[in-house]
Symmetry: C2
Subunit: 339 residues, 2 copies
DNA sequence: TTGAAAGCGCTAACAC
DNA sequence: GTGTTAGCGCTTTCAA
């Protein structure tokens, strides 16, 4: 049997109002009553009825969603799917979402950021791409007591905020192992960075660090040899690729979701022997995985990151639960057979 | 603005009671009013307030959990963890669970099964091990309109029940691929069945089928050769293992969670060159995975199966949502680097 | 500092 | 067939 506020009031010989004040620390109660009520709560183990609470509270909750704009790049569509799934699920609990998308420049970012701060949301789901600007923004959020959950990448400089996403370094480390599964005696590994970002804190750079780190940790083990080279391409498709780049290469690592660009080129030019490891289950990537051009994809479940982000806010703000502040998504290895 | 029953009643110029009857199909309403109210609902998009609904309903929900007893075998502990996590989470929504564990004999099973049927639960989470007995039991459940969700293995003979779990065949197929990653030119594959089950429908047999199927589908591809043999051991530890069994063997597939038994033997006898693929992240298995004795574990997330099973019942019975009837867990490939 | 009570939206029992 | 209403447990306001 679960005890109610009414019962507590009876047992303590006070009114419901007094019990409520004590439970919510609203003050204006005598110490005597505080002690009396707390003793009863302790003895009987009061748990608030979440249905009655929210019904009486009768408030709608507004969360802001603040993500990079999906400009022709499928990647940023995926978390939105998860967010929309969560939106549907939590609508009945009074949750509504406002979406904000910033372009890949810091002016657009700042403009929208200040709009969000002004609008007095109950919570914020945020994917920080620009490191310095994000820190400024997060500090503002802190000032106005706006609960934040970050996805995709973390900003550790501002604490007290939650993060749901990948361990980028470890995922690169994992990629190192995967590359070995199809290795030969002599391996020339090419790392291709296809990006417009310049941030030195970017996720893909941490992945590359993890990748190298794997080989450092396993130096001298086994008999296979690995040599590495890197190239950087502007984010404009495969026009910049040419056959020369791939001479002598038998292994390629693409540290972000753009591996389909390289896969397309490899397929066209019949470079079938090359092992290719990339990230994220974009439609195009999956196509080349099933084709056998891409060998491994590491999945960080961006869809679920979006869903879990909203769920985090819901649990924290509406249910007032204690939720873990950091959640690293498991690193999924995706091959043709478990896709 | 979300419309309420009260508003609908006003708009339709009927009472709340009438609206309620129409929404819940309780009958005893004139067709005229049904049409009027439905038109309004359609226009304004009524969604019931789940807080008010459950507060008024004010019922506790009792689910039965019916699983094989964990007799020294860690595997059946794991879904219970997930179930307990769900229990904690849904307690505040009025969910309570009763646990029943049956021993590995059909008499124990039947006895407890009839107890559950008598007790009039609101829902049932069930792991069917005994095929024929389970069909009988499920038919009884159907008769008394008890909603059921199955985990771990599915009984397809009785429809209208939900299933959350693995695609056993596909997971064996996947194991086939994994075995190839560390293959040489000539491979002798040993499949070790460590079990006390005799059911011809058992999960592990479907896994073996999938495993062979992979090699059939890839016959003639590549240059590696595979030969297969099988042994069956009673479920009594590694005393039955001997070095002779492993002569010439370079690959082992264990189609259930007992791979640690073989791993222990391999380690003791320094059989380091053998590739070992198994199932499930039992503590012991993980230990040997990190040790490098086990190469791959396929994870079917039994913990999450338990959690999702309870969540399914909650969503279906308390929230009255439409929930998918079959959910196949993704097949996770676990190696040292993403454990 | 405290008590009383309205009301959140829905369910279900009862009266007509 | 239909309308009325108590009550679920909590929040919040107003009065004392």
């Amino acid at each position: 049997m679960i005890i109610t506020i009414k019962k507590i009031a009876q047992l303590a010989a006070v009114s419901q109002g007094t019990v409520d004040r004590i439970i919510h620390n609203r003050g204006q109660v005598s110490q005597e009553n505080i002690d009396k009520v707390n003793a009863i709560i302790k003895e009987y183990g009061y748990k608030k009825n979440i249905f009655a609470s929210n019904l009486a509270f009768n408030k709608k909750f507004k969360f802001a969603i603040f993500l990079p704009k999906n400009e022709g790049l499928e990647y940023w569509k995926i978390p939105v799917n998860g967010i929309e799934r969560a939106e549907e699920e939590f609508e009945k609990f009074g949750v509504t979402l406002d979406y904000y998308f910033y372009k890949y420049d810091s002016i657009s970012f700042k403009k929208i950021a200040s709009k969000i701060v002004d609008k007095k949301y109950d919570g914020l789901l945020f994917a920080p791409i620009f490191h310095d600007e994000s820190i400024l923004f997060l500090n503002q959020c802190k000032k106005i007591n706006l609960p934040v959950v970050m996805i995709d990448s973390n900003i550790k400089e501002v604490d007290s905020f939650a993060y749901i996403g990948q361990d980028a370094f470890q995922s690169g480390y994992l990629a190192g192992r995967l590359v070995c599964y199809n290795s030969t005696m002599e391996n020339n590994v090419l790392i291709i960075k296809i990006t417009r970002e310049i941030e030195s804190t970017s996720v893909y750079l941490q992945r590359i660090k993890g990748f190298y780190s794997f080989f450092k940790d396993h130096e001298g083990e086994g008999s296979a040899n690995f040599k590495f080279s890197e190239i950087t391409l502007k984010d404009s498709g495969q026009k910049q690729l040419n056959l020369k780049m791939f001479e002598g290469i038998n292994t390629i690592f693409i540290p972000n979701s753009r591996s389909y660009i390289v896969a397309e080129f490899l397929k066209k030019n019949n470079l079938n022997h090359i092992v290719l490891v990339g990230y994220d289950l974009l439609q195009e990537n999956v196509k080349y995985l099933k084709d056998g051009v891409i060998d491994f994809l590491i999945n960080q479940k961006p869809e679920q990151q979006g869903y879990l982000g909203v769920e985090y806010l819901y649990k924290k703000i509406i249910l007032k639960e204690n939720v873990e502040n950091t959640y690293y998504m498991p690193l999924e290895i995706i091959i043709k057979e478990n896709c």
